[in-house]
């Protein structure tokens, strides 16, 4: 194959993009069209249209500077395209779109482009060469989109875990300088550590002299978690506050004894009510029934 025959694929593609931009967009858009004809669907269609036009323009500008085959992870000329697709993939993941839907966006351009290519090629061998190169190009783009979609998903999971951690540690001011921390659900060591941290900071912030940790809602306690309970009690005392653990269920009490932990210096009460009463007692207060 002579040098003259071996047209640069980038030139061919950018020629196609310029000559038959509207047809390409129309076919591509046809490929993407899946949504229903309601208001939301229409909005989505318009959004897709904007995105596809933007992507095509970006592809065109990049191709004027370089060739398709130069696309790899490091070439800075492709930075804009890569960044655009990365942002798109992360947004789609955040929107709750499926991976198929997201990849289909890029994939949708491939078919009309290949169809248009057929008219441009002068020989069969050239056509097959262009086909292979353009397929490879789109494969790379799709891989890139997939990778970033995954990054977007990971980010969502991480954020949700954080939020879950936040809502699962409610530290409430119950009365005067009494804080209560009702724990519900399985306590793993990561959560136990977060509990300790949150409690300590809240105690200092509110200057509470007594904290009540109610563990009625905790189904199981293993060695590590029991160890954390002891550590939390010690740390709270170091701050100059005191802590009562309430609601230790029979099975947990048995487990703690079996684990051989020395819990004799920890103040415990049967229920949250008893703990509250004890805490009031320490500060010289008590609840009385009204006279009337």
């Amino acid at each position: 194959m002579s040098k003259k025959d071996a047209k640069h694929l980038g030139d061919v593609v950018s020629q196609i993009l310029e000559e038959s931009k509207d047809e390409l967009l129309a076919t591509w858009f046809q490929e993407l069209k899946t949504g229903e004809a309601n208001a939301e669907g229409n909005l989505r269609q318009r959004e897709l249209k904007n995105e596809s036009e933007r992507f095509m323009k970006l592809l065109d500008t990049t191709l004027n500077r370089t060739d398709l085959s130069t696309l790899d992870d490091n070439d800075p000329t492709w930075d804009e395209v890569r960044e655009y697709l990365a942002r798109l993939a992360v947004n789609e993941a955040g929107r709750g779109a499926s991976l198929t839907e997201t990849v289909a966006f890029v994939h949708g351009l491939k078919v009309p482009l290949l169809e248009a290519l057929e008219e441009k090629a002068s020989s069969v061998s050239e056509l097959s060469r262009l086909f292979i190169e353009i397929s490879r190009f789109f494969d790379r783009l799709e891989l890139h989109v997939t990778r970033n979609f995954q990054i977007g998903l990971d980010e969502i999971i991480r954020r949700q875990q954080e939020e879950l951690m936040e809502v699962s540690i409610p530290v409430i001011k119950l009365w005067g300088d009494i804080l209560v921390l009702p724990l519900v659900g399985v306590l793993d060591s990561e959560r136990a550590e977060a509990v300790m941290e949150k409690l300590l900071f809240q105690i200092v912030e509110t200057q509470s002299r007594t904290a009540i940790m109610d563990i009625t809602g905790i189904p199981v306690v293993d060695t590590q978690v029991a160890q954390y309970l002891v550590k939390t009690v010690t740390a709270v005392r170091l701050l100059g506050s005191d802590i009562i653990i309430s609601g230790i269920r029979p099975r947990i009490a048995q487990a703690m004894v079996h684990l051989g932990l020395d819990l004799s210096h920890i103040k415990t009460e049967a229920s949250l009510v008893d703990a509250f009463r004890a805490a009031l007692n320490w500060s010289g207060q008590k609840i009385v029934e009204s006279e009337t």
């Binding site: 200057q207 509470s208 002299r209 550590k231 740390a235 170091l238 701050l239 100059g240 506050s241």
Partner: protein, 120 residues
Amino acid sequence: MTYIAKIGKFLLATVEEDLDDQQALDLQDKLSQRLESAEVRCVVLDISSLVIVDSFVGRVLSDISRTLALMGGETIVVGMQPPVAMTLVELGLKLPGIRTALTLEHAMEYLEFHADSRET
């Protein structure tokens, strides 16, 4: 750096941000001397500015309280920050016998009560 002042019936020692090993030892030294010369029985150690602590400083804190106890004095550690408490606990330093208070105010309340009960 630390600053020690005599206020009424107790000594107030304020620990600045960074307490290196030598400064911690100096503090122990100074406090025990002042306890003797100033004729007070109680030392309030305000460590609310202290945000970083290592095993050595942790041990010195515990040593201070035990030293002063031998001399008939009492130590109240005030305003320990959560990260410091967590570090000490992780290091396994429970500072046995040390008295703690959330704020200077709480410490003084305790002292008043304590002083009253001593006199009677």
